[in-house]
């Protein structure tokens, strides 16, 4: 039925194609995979935050039943195994490069955080490996440790690395200091804030795992791993750690149970399992216990900031001055140095036309788990700072909180808009988002709801956050000039099979985002084929040409654009084939909805007819065209994308107990064109839940000696179903102007926009007690104490 009208997939809430396997227990996660002859690795973790390793006696452990090997850092060093590399180099104000300490996969000589890896035991069963690990004798000489961000730079603080004076990794800045100082000198009023962005532990529900294998007959190494970016792991582990060339190293990331950033990085266990498998000529598998996840998955956030906002008499923002300390942990994780710099300080204009901005950021080492990107990465920290500070500005100036925002918004006709901190925004409509959110949240009805709460003995508060973020990372030349040691393009390959079905290979990776559905929608529309004829392949370096993976809400904006580009190449070639088959000029061939038509006639060929001719080239322009129908595109984005929006939160506080409940949450987000509304809403729900978690529940705590006190799900408070309300989510769309789909990205907006909305609501609820600021999380204890300490006005 070539003339039947086509049903377009873009914009439809197509049900997810990945769900059936997950709902019936047929997912294929790393720990579900076993290889014949497989051994099990168990890692001995340091119980000390900072210590010399005086000696490790492996004799007894090696003699135990089932034990095949025990390795330490010395064994890896003897094999010439390199350290885990850092992918981003930041230079300090004075031009000197950041302090970049070594990061061995197994500790050598010293442990630097609780959970640092000391030795690996490999045995026939996991139980045997664990039993043998108990028999390892490690003598430590305890050293004093520094665990908190603020104490790290104090003179005389213990040094994590001898060559990092005052534990400073880098001392970086951005912006025009002189212009900012001048603006402050003439400001009518100034708002000031000191805040902490609390340290979080990502806790994707699937613990990390790695399965290494080696085929001595071919020399091929295989790593199956819980990664958001298998090609990046192949690149880093192959080139820097194990020195295995790409063609002999295959990395697979099968179904992955959530990442949120924590599965971007190249971790020691991947290298250990791959290396040990080759040494022992047996597959070696490791799966984290949740306790290990808490100690060794890269943590997130952990900033301490002082900021000031200069205003004129009407509350117009004149200048912003920010000073931040950011905790890197004990080692530099893969992208850690970029997070508090180029993913944070460049976002400090937010949605406001503040003309002058200056930020300085000191990154510090501490005896804690490395800190790196976690959902939002730098942008939640910038947004929390700005949106708390803007509320403080409203308080200081006496201007309504919505009004002061509106007064300072970048207007909808100002694009492209160049900020004073490097970014150029391409599109947005912040006032439109705010209006829609105020309406959807029934902002005007708040007073009545507050009165009703008060009548029931409860306090009620409302908070706004008008945010912006930069994602779809990133133009390679730009990030290269900013210190990235990699490009951030993406790859798409389209294979049209002889009978017209389509396999799509993408370098991005889905670990919950639903790429198998969304990308199929894009390709179905681009090529005019049924969605059931399209298959998406990802997560295997042997099948997918290349890719940088999924993080920074880049999959659709960058990976989707590569796929669209590859579709364009398919169509261009198919048009030539159609012209030949239809004996028409190529310029006369029109393509629409899967049909190649001679303009003004009813002569046409469908894509399956053309692909058949391409693979059975009997009647084919063989002198001009190669047979086959397969194209690859590399897409390097022209700019970041800039989603934004308004989140409005209402909380109710029980003054007797300090318990704070989110009773209403409204999000109006501009994520660019929406391909699958159902999936986009789901992404926003999840992000908002993590943001509310950060605001009310989650906090990673170390004691002064560097012991991790929140090392299990009993101690670290994850949001559960009864901690959260249902959410109201809407889109207010402006299109991205520089990618072919007009998409911006939706994976992180929820976690970026929501924390300040919640905390502004908490502060609003408590303002009658003289509360003007509270650091996250607003636990019942903290809220109760604030109420006790305050005086009811």
């Amino acid at each position: 039925m070539p003339d039947a009208p086509m049903t377009y997939q873009i914009g439809a809430s197509v049900k997810r194609r990945e769900d059936l396997r997950f709902l019936t227990g047929k997912g294929n996660y790393t720990d579900d995979i076993n290889r014949p002859g497989q051994l099990y690795a168990y890692l001995l973790r340091s119980p000390m935050a900072h210590a010399e390793i005086v000696s490790i006696d492996t004799t007894a452990a090696k003699a135990m039943a089932g034990v095949r090997a025990v390795f330490t850092g010395a064994d890896m060093a003897a094999d010439g195994v390199g350290g885990l590399p850092c992918g981003w180099q930041i230079h300090s104000k004075d031009g000197s490069p950041m302090v970049e300490p070594p990061h061995p996969a197994l500790a050598v000589g010293r442990v630097r955080h609780v959970g640092d890896t000391v030795a690996v035991v490999i045995a026939d069963t996991l139980a045997q490996a664990k039993d043998a690990a108990e028999a390892l004798e490690v003598e430590y000489k305890a050293l004093s440790a520094v665990a908190t961000t603020t104490e790290a730079t104090v003179d005389g603080a213990p040094l994590v690395w001898e060559d990092a004076k005052n534990n400073i990794c880098y001392d970086w800045h951005i912006g025009d200091k002189a212009a900012v100082d001048a603006a402050f000198a003439s400001a009518a009023q100034v708002a000031t804030i000191d805040l902490v962005n609390n340290r979080l532990i990502p806790n994707a529900m699937e613990p990390r795992a790695a399965l290494g294998d080696f085929n001595p007959a071919t020399g091929e190494h295989t790593l199956i791993t819980t990664s958001q970016n298998p090609h990046v792991i192949r690149l880093l582990m192959g080139a820097f750690v194990l020195k295995i060339p790409e063609h002999k190293l295959r990395v697979l990331a099968p179904d992955v149970g959530g990442g949120f950033g924590s599965k971007i990085y190249h971790y020691a266990e991947e290298a250990i399992c791959t290396w040990a498998a080759a040494k022992l000529k047996r597959p070696v598998k490791w799966t984290a216990e949740r306790t290990e996840s808490f100690m060794t998955d890269a943590h997130g956030r952990d900033h301490v900031t002082h900021a000031e906002l200069a205003m004129d008499a009407e509350g117009r923002f004149l200048a912003l001055r920010v000073s931040t300390l950011a905790n890197m942990g004990a080692y530099l994780s893969t992208f850690a140095p970029a997070v508090p710099t180029y993913l944070y300080a460049t976002l400090l204009a937010g949605v406001y036309k503040t003309p002058a901005i200056y930020a300085e950021v000191k990154a510090v080492f501490t005896n804690t788990t490395p800190v790196d990107a976690y959902r939002g990465a730098g942008r939640p920290e910038a947004t929390f700072l700005l949106e708390r500070l803007v509320d403080e500005a409203a308080r200081v100036s006496g201007i309504d909180r919505a009004e002061i925002r509106r007064r300072n918004f970048i207007p909808a006709d100002a694009y492209p808009y160049q900020t004073p901190v490097a970014l150029q925004y391409d599109s947005g409509d912040y006032a439109g988002c705010l209006d829609a959110a105020l309406k959807a949240a029934d902002y005007d009805g708040f007073a009545a709801r507050k009165a009703a709460s008060e009548a029931a003995g409860k306090l009620r508060g409302i908070g706004l956050s008008t945010y912006l973020e930069a994602c779809g990372i990133a133009p390679s030349a730009v990030v290269g000039s900013l210190g990235a040691r990699a490009g951030l393009f993406e790859v798409g390959k389209i294979r049209v099979h002889p009978t017209g079905s389509v396999t799509v290979f993408t370098g991005t990776h889905s670990h919950g985002q639903g790429h198998e559905t969304t990308f199929a929608q894009v390709v179905a529309d681009a090529l005019g084929v049924g969605i059931d004829s399209v298959e998406i392949v990802h997560g295997d370096t042997a099948n997918v040409p290349f890719g940088m993976g999924t993080y920074g809400s880049r999959s659709l904006a960058v990976g989707g654009s590569a796929i669209v580009k590859a579709c364009d190449k398919i169509i261009a070639k198919a048009r030539k084939i159609a012209a030949h088959l239809l004996e028409a000029a190529e310029s006369d061939i029109e393509f629409k909805d899967g049909l190649f038509k001679v303009a003004g006639t009813d002569r046409q060929k469908s894509l399956p007819e053309i692909s058949l001719a391409a693979y059975v080239p009997h009647n084919y322009p063989i002198d001009e065209l190669e047979p086959g129908l397969e194209e690859t595109a590399f897409y390097d984005p022209k700019n970041f994308t800039y989603p934004g929006g308004t989140h409005i939160c209402e909380v109710e506080v029980d003054p007797e107990t300090g318990v704070t409940k989110v009773v209403k949450f409204t999000a109006v987000d501009d994520v660019g064109r929406v391909i699958n509304p159902m999936i986009v809403e789901g992404q926003i729900h999840g992000g908002v839940a993590q943001g509310i978690g950060q605001a009310l529940l989650e906090q990673c705590v170390y004691d002064d000696s560097g012991q991790l006190l929140t090392g299990s799900m009993m101690d670290y408070c994850m949001p559960r179903a009864d901690d959260l309300p249902s959410f109201h989510v809407e889109n207010h769309t402006t299109l991205c102007t520089h990618n072919p789909l007009g998409v911006k990205g939706c994976g992180e907006v929820g976690a970026i926009g929501s924390p300040p909305a919640v905390m502004n609501a908490v502060v609003d609820a408590l303002k009658g007690y003289g509360v003007t600021h509270m650091d996250m999380p607003a636990t019942p204890e903290k809220v109760w104490r604030a109420i006790q300490a305050g005086t009811r006005s």
Partner: protein, 156 residues
């Protein structure tokens, strides 16, 4: 020391030789290759491992395999009958109650047990029942919606 356990799993009689310390979830995943049941924590907090033992939901990481001797166990693999999804599975699919899928088997098994006990739970009752199942992806919004729709579908 090894011990033998015999039980019914998804309707089929099985016998396995395990160590006394073997957990039910290890028996399922490692001995019976039923990898739909997941392990997400080591403190009985996350619920990724929920299965039904004699019809009631149980965290299979918190029960020894030997304790399940003689019991009838249903895992996520045994929930659909003759290729037809259980209404709870169907509702999760219809209402996007899952993203990465890792919490999903436990979440579904737990929700099925809820609906066995309460055919028309309120939103608050659903949220409270699922408090022992952590999902990091969905924010629970669509899970709650899915359970509500499944309840309606099952009431007919």
């Amino acid at each position: 020391m090894q011990v033998e356990v015999s039980l019914t799993v998804n309707g089929a009689a099985v016998t396995a030789t395990v160590e006394p310390r073997t957990l039910l979830v290890q028996l399922l995943r490692e001995h019976l290759a039923l990898t739909g049941t997941h392990v997400g924590c080591d403190t009985s907090q996350c619920g990724a491992c929920v299965v039904h033992v004699n019809g009631a939901s149980v965290k299979s990481c918190t029960m020894l395999a030997v304790q399940a001797d003689g019991a009838s166990v249903t895992t996520i693999e045994g929930l659909a009958t003759d290729g037809t999804l259980h209404p709870v599975q169907e509702a999760f699919r219809e209402h996007h109650g899952l993203q990465c899928g890792f919490c999903t088997p436990g979440m579904v098994m737990s929700a099925v047990d809820l609906l066995q006990n309460n055919t028309s739970p309120s939103e608050a009752e659903i949220r409270e029942w699922l408090e022992g199942n952590i999902c990091r992806c969905t924010g629970y919004h669509n899970i709650v919606k899915a359970v509500q729709h499944a309840a309606a579908a099952m009431r007919g």
